[in-house]
């Protein structure tokens, strides 16, 4: 049996706060800033329509997902099921990206991107021994980052971080 979690309901942790934030903002505009909601010239009329529709469709979708969760006998067969190992890999990768964003202004594009690419390549290549993995990861990172620099900066005139 696969170990992991079903993240079918995860999008609601984004959608529901977004919907609440929309209604909160509309509430502030109407009651604090005294803007009209139901006027044809109001800048809030479209926002209100969108907020109401979002609320309705979130509720409908939540109901059907709860039903689906109750009916599923083997949740690991669901496309929304994620292995613990995969989840950990994704969390680590996101953490790596956050560190990258933080160190980029200090180390600049070339050095920080070489580190990011090399670490990612090393961790993802789990089929070889450590030394060849390390050499391959480092070598490909240096060649790749320098190639990107030459192609994008020199040829396409794209400013790099």
């Amino acid at each position: 049996m696969r170990r992991g979690i079903n993240i079918l309901l995860a999008p609601y942790f984004i959608l529901v706060p977004v919907m609440i934030a929309m209604f909160y903002s509309l509430f502030e505009f109407v009651f604090k800033d005294k803007l009209e909601l139901f006027s044809i010239t109001s800048p809030l009329v479209f926002c209100f329509l969108v907020a109401i529709c979002l609320l309705v469709f979130i509720v409908l979708s939540l109901i059907s997902d709860f039903k689906a969760l109750k009916q599923k006998d083997s949740p690991e067969d669901s496309p929304s099921f994620v292995d613990n190992e995969d989840l950990l890999r994704i969390i680590l990768f996101v953490a790596g990206l956050i560190v990258y964003v933080l160190i980029l202004p200090v180390l600049h594009y070339q050095l920080s991107t070489i580190i990011l690419v090399a670490v990612a390549a090393f961790l993802l290549n789990d089929t070889e021994k450590i030394m060849p993995r390390l050499l391959k990861a480092l070598g490909s990172a240096i060649i790749f980052v320098l190639a990107v620099y030459q192609i994008f900066y020199r040829i396409f005139a794209v400013i790099l971080p």
Binding site: F57, T113, F152, V158, I159
Partner: protein, 493 residues
């Protein structure tokens, strides 16, 4: 069309062909990454690069569909139904030769129809008022039915989430700040290119992290001689090409439908009308390769015509291209043929060069592309990540867009895992401000909600548009449901 533009188109077509053939890297993602690179470029060069990549990407989809039974793009889904069985029979060269030749001919048919219909639709569109403008932009949102892949409620949730994202920042009519919650980062709104790179590019990186193995293409190789056009094969499928091209263009012309719908419909029609196929469909019929390939490439001309003359995208790729046109100061829509007619013909010339080059590169480079498909995950994932970072940074040369890109990558991954399609989010981010502006202008012009609603059903053009919107939403939902079932059956078989 200058030599420089031809060169930009050639490079775009080559990149598009390569990326479009890689399973997991969609044409939409290719278009997004390509658009992000063109920020500082002159408009014509940027258009050449982007449209060239579009032509190459659609053609490239058939390479992996035939070699791996995994379409490189959604517009090549039906190509795999007979292309892969042909490869299994030892006719990989014949299958790809036919696929590339059909793509090429489809592209040319679509272009010819685009040149004829573009000015006609453009002239008609000049009669549109604010109500019709609103309905036309709303028509683009019917694409949600296609992108939802069977779950309309979740598709609509995604679309309304996208509309919210599109509203962040300045109100398009009065300039009032909305939904910024006091943060400086949101004052300028969320850049749709950063969001798109996250939703299509970064999300794919997270998905690839969960996949265990890379593809196995051992035993497949193409010879350049074998990929050259074969008259005996083309003679067998000429009638399929003759009706498949106009059918694909017609489907591409409809707002909300593009190459992915075109290829599936053409395959279905081929099964119905071909009385004596070269082999039974699903077992390597040449007609089963020619029909979807000719239709998906012909749809390019149709989709670009609608996008330029009405300002409505045919699919998620044209939605991205529409956004890129705004980015470079071009305003597709009913007045496009009046004010920017020369760009219409420039884009037609780019499509011609892009189609020819995609065909040539397809013949010369397919073996190399097969090697690229076999690239290990440890190389591919950091490669795509770096492109996403560079692409999002290039938008305004600031790290905020990189952060936004990563956030939308996470949102995209979670949405897709939860069954919420990400295509409607992007579509709504792009179309949202236009829908809002046109709705509010129409409301103000009508003088109230009731006169506005009355005008929608009493003005002849508005009424026709309203009926077409409802019809296309219903038909697209049915076609996509049938297509989903077909793909599921094919996978199970």
């Amino acid at each position: 069309m200058t030599l420089t533009l031809v060169l930009y188109t050639i490079v775009g077509a080559a990149i598009g062909l390569l990326m479009g053939s890689l399973p997991g890297i969609t044409v939409t993602m290719t278009a997004v990454l390509v658009v992000s690179l063109t920020y500082g470029w002159p408009m014509a060069e940027a258009l050449a690069f982007i449209v060239g990549a579009f032509c190459g990407g659609v053609t490239g989809g058939c390479i992996s569909a035939i070699a791996l039974n995994i379409p490189g793009t959604s517009a090549a889904v039906a190509t795999a139904f007979d292309g892969f069985p042909l490869k299994e029979r030892g006719e990989a060269d014949n299958a790809l030769s036919l696929g590339l030749a059909s793509s090429f001919l489809g592209g040319l048919i679509g272009l010819a129809i685009m040149l004829v219909l573009g000015p006609v639709i453009g002239t008609f569109a000049l009669r549109f008022g604010s109500h019709e403008y609103f309905l036309i932009t709303l028509w683009g949102l019917t694409l949600v039915a296609v992108l939802s892949r069977g779950n309309i409620v979740k598709g609509l949730c995604s679309a309304f989430f996208g509309l919210f994202v599109g509203m962040i920042g300045m109100d398009p009519i009065m300039g009032m700040l909305r939904f910024t919650y006091g943060t400086g980062i949101l004052k300028g709104g969320i850049d749709f290119v950063a969001a798109m790179i996250g939703l299509f590019g970064m999300k794919e990186v997270f998905k690839q992290l969960s996949k265990k193995s890379s593809f196995n293409i051992s035993g497949t190789s193409y010879s350049i001689k074998g990929l050259l056009p074969k008259p005996h094969l083309l003679k067998r499928v000429w009638h399929t090409i003759l009706w498949g091209g106009p059918l694909g263009t017609l489907i591409g012309l409809l707002p909300g439908t593009g190459g992915d719908v075109g290829c599936i419909v053409a395959y279905g029609v081929a099964k119905q009308v071909t009385k004596n196929p070269s082999r039974p469909f699903g077992e390597g019929a040449y007609e089963g390769v020619a029909a979807p390939e000719v239709a998906n490439n012909a749809a390019i001309g149709g989709a670009l015509t609608t996008m330029m003359t009405l300002g409505v995208p045919g699919d998620s790729v044209t939605a991205v291209i529409l956004g890129s046109f705004y980015l470079h100061g071009l305003l597709p829509g009913p007045t496009f043929m009046l004010t920017e007619k020369h760009y219409f013909y420039l884009i037609a010339a780019i499509v011609l060069v892009g189609t020819i080059m995609a065909y040539i590169f397809g013949i010369l480079g397919s073996n190399l592309i097969l090697k690229a498909i076999n690239l290990p995950k440890w190389f591919l994932v950091p490669f795509i990540t770096t492109l996403c970072i560079v692409g999002s940074y290039a938008i305004k040369n600031n790290m905020y867009d990189v952060i936004i890109m990563i956030v939308f990558g996470i949102i995209g991954y979670l949405f897709e895992k939860g069954g919420f399609p990400v295509g409607p989010v992007v579509l709504a981010i792009i179309l949202g401000p236009m829908i809002e502006r046109n709705l509010r202008q129409a409301l103000i012009a009508s003088g109230g909600v009731v006169p506005f609603l009355t005008a929608l059903v009493t003005k002849p053009i508005s009424l026709i548009l309203l009926i077409l919107i409802i019809l296309s939403f219903v038909l697209q939902s049915k076609v996509m449901r049938a297509a989903e079932n077909k793909v599921k059956d094919a996978k199970a078989g």
